[in-house]
Symmetry: C2
Subunit: 323 residues, 2 copies
């Protein structure tokens, strides 16, 4: 186990050096200096090999994704990411693997000025747990529970590509060879919507990041906010590659139920739409209005203005009349 | 995997409800309110089944220990524990197991008014990662690096009993049946020295918690503080059970190298000894002076005022002349 002490050196090679970190890696704990008039926002996510990523995923992608899924949670709160703690369990020590894994971690950390302040390295089946922390102004955070009937429903980016990539990797779908890399990039290197989250903080009534799929995560907002929602399926942002590969029906199903998108789903009152759209312009993040909240306790979907039904696994495929 | 959502309910049954937690379990992140003139102290520790505890350890003990090892790190910084994030990976869902595990977690949390603010539940080989946070006054934390030549070396409690318990469990040592429960308690339910850590904060020049064994952890202080140390082996606090079971020579070896004690090792300048001892009285924690720091770059040991040599695995067993 002494070697496991040595690998800590891999985790000290970061260029970020924040002023609010009084004591970083190397003692029993890290020490952070007080932050006046700021809330601290905390999240923890674990990735288990074979469950959250295929065993043969590149170590750089694993490092990137372990950080990205946590920053995505911070983004959904409108927080500015600040500090990470990283606990990694490794079956053995492979220096090349560790170097690439750390590159994935540190590239994303540097981009957002996030400092790794500590962690733990242990021996066992591959698994990574990151606790990420960020800052928001006092009482200036987003949550799942502020949405109101009548608010508009938005998503960032495009939906379903990560699920499509996983279907390709597991041999369930063939993707045109020209598009495989672009689609795999969506699964392996999700972009946490950190800047978009901060931009919408003053305008959105609720937000969540899409990790479990649109229907499931919208369900969390509806439950926490005590509202229902209708999704206009015609308006779902779906990539051309997905449309070409799966056809419209299956593509919509994948966009509704596929996980791992790490886009933001958020709600905005009519009065805040213009402010929100203006605030987002500088982030360069595309958004799409995909529906509206209502007073029902249900999530419904329409296509061509006609209701179509969905079930827990997604929406029920269109009846013959709809084709 | 939907069931894994359900087990989150096990983790919401806590009685602690801190005023500084603005938003607890149930959203993308927890939100903590600003703390003026306080440092935030952060630590992360992972326990892997079969590595950090035997597979047949009771779930309550696993829950207790997962929290205790983290609070022990906070104690070594002189911090007051505040918030926990808990990531647990489980092979399957066993409600009895989870109920007992949570009891172990929450009993210790309640004792120290620590609130579970979030976490993640995933499927895979059993492993628990906790990130614990605490508070210290600004610039009022302990570290490994403040020790000076001439400072006195202290430990809390008794050393080696946890290692003895592990030797018993793995069949390498027989313990008198009357003592087995008492010794196993030391391994399964370590007491983090939270109050002692806060009491010595103003007086100690350095501190660390004993997880890897006295020699290894003293080595961390010596390296970080650029000092050497002599340990007076005659003065090591060793339980009567360990002395009776192992005899003096092996008992001392176990006290020097056995891990999992979670006692505090700390150093105090001559001028601060009385203040430190007075401050500790109210905590009811026993301490023992076991040696002194010096300007060498080595850790040495004496017995009957005569030097005995140690190696990386512990001290070299006494030569025939010493018996």
């Amino acid at each position: 186990m002494k070697e496991f002490e040595l690998i800590k050196h891999f985790f000290t090679k970061q260029s970020v050096n924040r002023k609010d970190v009084v004591l970083g890696i190397g003692d029993d704990c890290a020490v952070i200096s007080p932050i006046e008039n700021q809330n601290i926002v905390v999240t923890t996510d674990t990735l288990v090999a074979g469950v959250h990523f295929p065993f043969d995923t590149s170590p750089r992608a694993i490092g990137h994704k372990a950080v990205a899924v946590n920053l995505s949670d911070l983004a959904a709160m409108g927080a500015k990411p600040s500090w990470l703690s990283l606990a990694i369990t490794l079956p053995d020590i492979d220096e090349t693997w560790l170097t690439e894994f750390c590159q994935g971690v540190f590239d994303l950390c540097e981009f957002y000025n996030v400092q790794l302040i500590g962690g733990d390295t242990t021996q066992g089946p591959l698994s990574i747990t990151i606790t990420a922390q960020g800052l928001t102004p006092e009482d200036g955070y987003l949550s799942r529970s502020g949405a109101k009937s009548g608010d508009w429903l938005y998503v960032t980016g495009e939906l379903g590509d990560a699920a499509l990539a996983l279907q390709h990797i597991t041999g369930r779908v063939d993707i045109d060879a020209n598009f495989v890399d672009a689609i795999k990039e969506k699964l392996d290197y999700p972009k946490p919507r950190v800047l978009a989250g901060q931009a919408i903080r003053e305008y959105a009534s609720s937000a969540i990041d899409l990790s479990d799929g649109l229907i499931a995560d919208l369900g969390h907002i509806c439950q926490a906010s005590n509202v229902g929602a209708n999704i206009v399926l015609d308006d779902l942002p779906i990539s051309d590659i997905m449309l070409e590969t799966l056809g419209k029906t299956v593509a919509i199903d994948t966009a509704l139920t596929g996980g791992d998108d790490y886009e933001l789903l958020f709600t905005v009152a009519e009065d805040n739409k213009v402010g929100m759209e203006t605030a987002l312009i500088n982030t360069g993040v595309a958004i799409t209005c995909i529906g509206q909240l209502n007073g029902s306790a249900k999530i419904t979907t329409t296509i061509d203005n006609k209701p179509v039904s969905i079930n827990a696994q997604g929406f029920e495929h269109f009846s013959k009349d709809d084709h």
